[in-house]
């Protein structure tokens, strides 16, 4: 019997699991996928928002700015790339400037530091590649960019380092409330726990419906993105948002922590929560809107397009939304919902996790003891490409596998790939290696390195080449068996 079961190993579940290890608790982290951070955490804008958008009366407004300020420490402990590059919300006319002023005032209420309203010349001095028609902007120096899936993976790894049991490929199909403990039925092992934290992303409403009368519904909204080659990475220095409208934050243009350029997302309601298909019309819409602020976007330098889903909460009446996070002990005793966790969820997570643990879990559990062995730091990743020449010399001497480049585009060595396979919450698939090391994320998109990565995974996990999956266990296979000539030889 576990003390706490967390359903969903996305950014919310993984980070809360890690935060809970500050106490002596028996924790299990469950996910239906073959890897942690594989759904919403995998495909989003990767932005640590400053916190001026949401109303101060909402949890979003309350948690965003303080969460943002914790990012240096968090990313240092978890060894995740983070850059406080600042953001600009740009205005094209006086009406939009009025919105900029409103956002500025709201930002002050939310405690966002350093906000400035910039006029035309200052904007173009800061970002020379923007549309010359832009007449002003709200500058938020605290906004940043991060690698969201690395943050999630490293949080999960650190959680396991500190004693959490991680069970991937455990898709929850039912939960039995035995009033005193819960029994969680999965397609892997079943799990018993005294308390449950529901951080199941898009499916948190379905999970809650297994134990209680539904009081919120999650609507999936799809957003399309483009990633550009690193050659285009320097087009903007900071995150460029259009002026927000009723439709949302609009199409942003942002650098990524790894030096690429990202544009997106639109917001299209979809009924199927696994509908990650891109469509030509929506991709064109992204292009057109991104061009309004950045007219020089080099579309011949696109290396990937994809879609991600948000989980927008619709509370109580099922028709209206108050658009806020649902973070509370639910009407079912001992069952905590962390639901509707959409933007600015990534930015808020350091504070939200603390809030869940200190203000919700701790009061529920009598005699909770502190874990004095808690270590907030993950073992450092040795990123060959970021090393100095002297460090490169040393690392290859220490481990020659760092002298063998597997991914040419991103200069990722075999040593790095072997490392992420054998860490806690380690990589089991080609996509998991890609998320952790960037092997396959470059301009050739794995054309050269994927056969090598398959080989390394098979060797390190001691399985056959055709046992290695691209992503989901069993269904996302890469190879369908031996060729006819190999079979005939055998």
């Amino acid at each position: 019997m576990y003390d706490i079961a967390i359903i969903g190993a996305g950014i919310a579940g993984s980070y809360i699991a890690r935060e809970l290890t500050r106490y002596k608790l028996d924790i299990v982290l469950l996910d239906g996928e073959n890897d942690v951070g594989n759904q919403i955490t995998m495909a989003n804008s990767a932005i640590v928002h400053a916190g001026f958008d949401a109303s101060a009366t909402k949890l979003k407004g309350k948690f965003n700015a303080p969460g943002n300020i914790m990012y240096e420490k968090v990313c240092d402990d978890l060894d995740v790339p983070f850059k406080r590059c600042g953001s600009l919300v740009v205005a094209h006319d006086e009406y939009e400037m009025a919105t900029i002023h409103d956002l500025y005032q709201n930002g002050l209420k939310n405690g966002v530091p350093g906000l400035q309203i910039l006029f035309k010349n200052a904007v173009h001095a800061m970002e020379p590649n923007l549309n010359k028609a832009i007449c002003g902007a709200l500058y938020a120096p605290t906004a940043g960019i991060v690698s969201p899936f690395e943050l999630c993976i490293h949080a999960a790894e650190n959680a396991v380092d500190n004693g959490v049991t991680l069970k991937t490929n455990h898709l929850v199909s039912d939960i039995k409330n035995h009033h005193g403990h819960f029994e969680i039925i999965t397609n892997g092992e079943n799990v018993k726990a005294k308390y449950v934290i529901n951080a199941a992303g898009l499916y948190a409403d379905d999970i809650y419906a297994m134990v209680g009368k539904p009081y919120f519904k999650l609507r999936a909204r799809k957003g399309h993105y483009f990633i550009f080659d690193k050659e285009a990475g320097a087009l903007v220095n900071s995150v460029i948002f259009p002026c927000p409208s009723k439709k949302g934050k609009g199409i942003l243009v942002a650098p990524t922590v790894h030096g690429n350029l990202l544009i997106g997302p639109d917001a299209e309601p979809v009924s199927d929560k696994s509908d990650l298909a891109t469509t030509g019309e929506r991709l064109d819409y992204i292009k057109e809107n991104a061009l309004k602020n950045c007219p020089d976007l080099p579309f011949n330098k696109i290396i990937r397009s994809y879609a991600g889903l948000r989980n927008t909460p619709v509370r109580d009446t099922f028709t209206t939304t108050d658009g806020d996070f649902i973070i509370e002990e639910s009407p079912v005793r001992g069952f905590i919902n962390v639901a509707g966790y959409e933007s600015p969820g990534l930015s808020s997570i350091p504070v939200v996790a603390r809030y869940v643990v200190e203000s919700i879990v701790k009061p529920m559990i009598p005699n909770i003891e502190e874990n004095h062995n808690y270590n907030p730091k993950v073992r450092k990743h040795l990123r060959f490409d970021e090393m100095t020449d002297a460090e490169k010399v040393e690392i290859i001497k220490a481990d020659p596998k760092y002298g063998k480049v597997i991914c040419r585009c991103e200069t990722i060595t075999e040593g790095e790939i072997i490392d992420v396979i054998h860490r806690n919450a380690g990589a089991r698939s080609v996509k998991a290696v890609k998320k952790r090391t960037r092997a396959g994320m470059g301009r050739c998109q794995g054309g050269f390195c994927s056969p090598r990565v398959v080989e390394i995974l098979a060797r390190e996990l001691n399985v056959r080449l055709d046992d290695i999956m691209y992503d989901q266990q069993d269904s996302a296979y890469i190879l369908s068996g031996h060729t006819k000539s190999v079979k005939e030889e055998a």
Binding site: Q445, P451, M469, Y477
Partner: protein, 421 residues
Amino acid sequence: MIYDVVILGGGPAGLAAAVEAKNAGAENVLILERDRELGGILNQCIHNGFGLHTFNEELTGPEYAERYIDQVIALNIPYLLNTMVLDLHDNGALKSIHMINEENGYLIIEARAVILTMGCRERTSGAIGIPGYRPSGVFTAGTAQRFINMEGYLPGKEVVILGSGDIGLIMARRMTLEGAHVQAVCELMPYSNGLVRNIVQCLDDYNIPLKLSHTITFIHGKDRLEGVTIAKVDEKLKVIPKTEEFIPCDTLLLSVGLIPENEITRNAGIVIDNRTNGAIVGELRQTSMPGVFACGNVVHVHDLVDFVSEEAVLAGKGAVNYINGDLASEITFTTSNGDGIGYVVPQQVAIKNVADKVTFYMRVRQVFQDQVVNAYIGDQLIATKKEPKLLPAEMINFNITKDVLAQYPAGEIRFVVEEAR
């Protein structure tokens, strides 16, 4: 140790350049190869048809590579395998090359001349942005070729191929022979991007339909590919409504173009031609950085390896002339592509370095019937190249003799597709 000539890449271009440099008198030649053996992409090209021009016989890829590897070994040219070059720096008279491998660690070596022969990579599904899901089962043709020919595994059983580049055509046959079923090859353009002989030998002989003016409009399947929707396109390459057709398949191979791999070239500050995506080169394949040469698919994508070898000989000669102080640097001619021509290599010519002729390599932008390629300097027609048919898939070799060029002091050589006069 200071090398005379260091060659970045042990594929067909690198091997031929090394052999030529050594034969022309360079003493210390070194080949750096990132893969585990010499031969480059030829190692996975186990079909035949290589070497008709060079050796007058039909060799497989590995056999063609072996001819050059044998010469490299006979000439005692050293090479390092599993070695990745990280950077190339220009220190004036010497170039320094930073590289790593497992045995030697981090190495910096110096060279009087460098030849870039890194080859090319395939355009990906990401770059062409096909709508739909992003499942497993979508491969570039070359990746599938590696899995099948090098690892002995099939990437799938029911196959659709997008793009009729040569690797796609070769893989249609290869997958069929290895037990898969290839349903169709779809080509966006109204003509094939592969060699005619490959269409006959790889598609027609196996009854694999080539669907010209077709593209893929949707990728189905959340985990593994489950099918593709194909559709017909009009002359503006726009999808014609109501022509969509669903083809169930577990594998999609892409053969939608090759891109020279010039990361090292760009980082070194060498000038790139945005038409070829390769370095701007001269008649002996000299680049904008004195002492650095480039040849093969890293300069422009060739359709036959024989011409890669031919180009590598020029670069090998050029490198040796350079270290001997015999390479003229005054550019006499530049080249330009007029109507109908996509690109021309070399982009510049120093006439003093030309022995008897210059071979200009070029591609046309579309299919032309009953037309010729004319070369002009100013208004003056200086040479004509006649072909029965001009195809974008087939590189044109246009020879102009030194005697003809020498009649002009300098200028721009403009190549144009037009009616025969």
